[in-house]
């Protein structure tokens, strides 16, 4: 079983590859749409801006490959920008995105002028409902975040985790075989590695039989 880490000029993919190695998940960084379409499982990482990310995905034909893989039931994990562009639209550069998930990506717009943007650092992730990838999550478990935009899915029932920065926002969502997180599990110590380890054996179903 090998995970494909999508390479689309969206930042440092090696830290994701290192985290996969640490939990025993064989991973390969690839930008070829044929490899992506045929992957056993896909990790869709990324930091950076939505407009340039969409541009390079389209240039490589990776947008179509990702949509195909989603429809085919391939287990997929989106991280940070990889989550954001799974929705329909991002306020960042007014960009139409992949639309695997219904909803939009909004910019943090605070009434408190002293709140720093980006939202950077460790924040507690509160589970909203059970998901195989969030198994073992306990009160107080925090993940590392770096972002200025956040996802706002249309259907609140697909939200699995929330964090708070002036207001609660969705930081983990799941639709069938796709799971997206706004935080960086590869930089979140033991709790982050646990999520990647669970992804390594996830069959793409929303709830495991024992959940």
């Amino acid at each position: 079983m090998t995970a494909i880490i999508i390479d689309y000029d969206a930042g440092n993919l090696r830290s994701v590859a290192r985290a996969c190695a640490e939990v025993g998940l064989a991973a390969k960084i690839a930008a070829d749409p044929h490899i992506v379409s045929g992957a056993d499982r896909i990790i869709f990482p990324g930091v950076g801006a939505a407009p340039s990310a969409m541009k390079s995905l389209k240039r490589e034909g990776l947008d179509v490959a990702l949509i195909d893989a989603f429809r085919a039931g391939t287990p997929m994990l989106g991280i940070c920008l990889g989550l954001q562009i799974s929705l329909e639209h991002s306020e960042e550069g007014d960009t139409p995105t992949l639309a695997l998930v219904a909803g939009r990506v909004r910019r943090f717009d605070f009434t408190d002028r002293h709140l720093k943007v980006p939202h950077m650092g460790w924040n507690e992730v509160k589970p909203v409902r059970a998901h195989p990838l969030l198994g073992g999550l306990e009160t107080g478990d925090a993940f590392y975040f770096v972002h200025s935009f956040f996802p706002q899915p249309e259907d609140a029932s697909i939200i699995y985790g929330q964090a708070n920065y002036e207001h609660d926002f969705c930081c983990a969502l799941g639709v069938r075989n796709y799971f997206g997180v706004q935080f960086h599990p590869e930089k979140s110590g033991r709790v982050g590695l646990r999520l990647i380890e669970k992804f390594a054996s996830w069959d793409g179903a929303l709830c495991s039989p024992n959940a």
Binding site: G121, W122, E124, K187, S188
Partner: protein
Amino acid sequence: MLTKRLIACLDVRDGKLAKSVKFVDTKDIGDPVEKAREYYRDGLDELVFYDITASSDERRILLDVVEAVAAEVFIPLSVGGGIRSVSDATDLRLAGAEKINVNSAAVQRPALIAECAEAIGSQNLVLSMDIRRVDGDAGLPSGYEIVIDGGRRSMGLDALQWALDGEKLGAGELVVNSIDADGTRDGYEIKLTRMLSEAVRIPVIASGGAGKPEHLREVLEAGKADAALVASMVHYGDYRVSELKTWLHEHGVSMRMSW
């Protein structure tokens, strides 16, 4: 709720860990990879490697140290010292650094900030500032000046103005390092940290002067810092990382307490 961060800085010289007092008279105190591993397991929130002599004598950062640490330490890793170009920054990113700190070279050529921000993203670019208090008649409105090359050269540049310029050019975070407080263990420069943190909208990391847990609380609360950087306090075994975090947590500072 976003927690405050505890960051440990490992000053690296010739691949070894060093700690300076007021930026002179450094002595070696151990293996950086071993220390990084120890702090990570003990709940550290972020790690900074600083090649303390790179700026002065043109030496390149020790990419192999970064690479070795990145393979087993899964928290944000930040590296600085001697970064002069986009390729210095991208080399370090490939070795495993999340964030890149620019300092002296950015003072000499501010466009470096914009170039690096464009290449690696603002959120990964840290402007590290070495700052010294000046007399009222020095002609600097904030009362603080920027120094470079490990504190050896005064630039006649106002610290507050430089922080604002850095933010505008694309820095995603600031390190406020007080040369006056560095290595004294008498506490951070609260007034300076607060002034800069209130002036910018990007996160501020306070650096220089930590000696007691109370100093960290002071700079995170009164100093309005988003993160506190420590070195001597943990390097010599006076305090453990987990001990500092527990103390802060018990004294009302929001910290990540499960790792």
